[in-house]
Symmetry: C2
Subunit: 295 residues, 2 copies
């Protein structure tokens, strides 16, 4: 039986191969832009969202050749969001995964264009005829990805998060914020398998429920790591949200209750997968991993 | 017979109605983001690219209901590019169409998110099932739009343009730069009609040729306006590229030769439409307008 670690590594290799081909090294006039895109894409991310796409697609035996472009696309959207969030005008972070952030390693203008280009390329990746053979699936993937990433999804969540620096949020507000900021993209990652398989019924709803729970669990675990972790483990500044006066799950609930809730959410996420057979084991295992990870 | 002015106004009204519905006023938590998106979208643009989409679609009698979302999408992508290009880290412009730029009227973080959100929403607009009834057309629109806007199109052109500030470009290089920076989006705007009509043969090639010529003519006319125009006419700072030591068509060719070339390109663009009947009159008229406009 494949361990989660092996499954994560195998998915990361598949998505890295796709990313390497979608964002090639080039000697062209825009070579520096591509170099900066690759710098941020290949900065040691865990490829968790691509893993969710591929594992969700595996539930329905969708061929890997049809799902890998979507997995690469979600990683491009995730990376774009990190590059823009790190900008001086946003969170102003110099360090990400232990390396200088894109605008530090290159420059601010390049970092803006890296984000813009990765976001744009994600839509090319899901709609290119070389991906899924059904154009209806390709259009549906692009539409769902846009909804998850846009002003009523991730970008909207980031806007609310920035506004939150000027006032303290309550628990309901922080849950809602995280649903947009990180939950929406988790949702797309998990539902993509159903879209790729043209499953629009209960199976898709189950994946949506699973995604909502692991998305929130992921965020609580992040707050716990930020609270407990060391900068060396995380490769980024820690305690920053709390220091900035931003409400966090740990600040609102205390570490013990936050840990209990994250665990309960992982249980609920696994319960949401009850209708699936053994092919859902990687999704079950990753729900545990999300709340137990150390970085 | 409808004059070009009337046709431009009619197209602008159609696309503004679509934009108003795609980017509504909202009281939600992300209301300020939507407000800023609308601020930049409704800042008095000429809606030239939407006009090209709608006029191209009219060549094939594509129903307006199927083409207007694509027209709105191209305007969102164009607006996103202006908002990001105006940022302090990019061209650092305070004024656009006579009004404070987005990051001045709001703030820099909001302007970054406005651009990100408009770009994302453009892909939702072209792929939403409420648009064209053929999902294959929707996927093809998204794929072509992504290619035109991304690292091998508009965003790549902007990256090369920023790098050009450190060395002087020759005429061939500046043509190539403008093909990416402004030409690619003109190309999509003109080809969209053929995509919407599922025309993939000579008609599409003719539109592509037309687009390449008006795109370059547009840029030369822009340089001429920048050279001759007043800040009051243009609503933005003038003479800036030349002052920054950037090569311009006027600087390389002289104003007279630049004007002659722009006119010749408009003639060539009109010649490229030879296969089309009277339904191409708006496209023929706008080719003239592009080189004769005063703002």
């Amino acid at each position: 039986m494949t361990t989660l670690e092996e499954a994560l590594r195998e998915a990361a290799e598949a998505v890295d191969t796709a990313l390497d081909s979608l964002v090639p090294l080039t000697n062209g006039e825009n070579g520096r832009l591509y170099e900066a895109m690759r710098y941020s894409l290949f900065a040691g991310g865990k490829r968790l969202r691509p893993f969710l796409v591929l594992s969700g697609a595996d539930l329905f035996d969708v061929p890997r050749a049809w799902s890998v472009n979507t997995a690469a696309a979600i990683e491009m959207v995730h990376t774009y969001s990190l590059v823009h969030d790190d900008l001086p005008a946003m969170d102003d972070d110099d360090l990400r995964r232990g390396k200088p952030t894109c605008h530090v390693a290159f420059d601010e203008a390049t970092a803006i264009l890296v984000g813009d280009s990765l976001l744009t390329l994600a839509f090319e990746a899901v709609t290119a005829p070389s991906g899924h053979p059904d154009a209806g699936v390709r259009a549906a993937l692009a539409c769902a990805l846009a909804r998850a990433a846009g002003a009523d999804g991730m970008a909207g969540g980031q806007a609310i998060d920035l506004a939150a620096e000027t006032r303290e949020l309550g628990l309901d507000e922080i849950v809602r914020l995280q649903q947009l900021k990180t939950g929406a993209l988790f949702g797309f990652s998990c539902e993509a398998g159903a879209i790729l398989a043209r499953e629009d019924g209960a199976a898709r709803v189950a994946l949506r429920d699973y995604a909502a729970r692991i998305g929130l669990a992921f965020q609580i675990a992040d707050d716990l790591l930020d609270h407990e972790g060391s900068e060396a483990d995380l490769g980024k500044a820690v305690g920053k949200d709390a220091a900035a006066g931003k409400a966090t799950f740990v600040g609102l609930l205390g570490a013990e209750e936050a840990r209990r809730r994250a665990g309960a959410l992982a249980d609920d996420a696994i319960a949401a997968l009850g209708r699936f057979d053994d092919r859902a084991e990687p999704l079950r295992a990753v729900a545990r991993y999300i709340v137990e990870r150390r970085h």
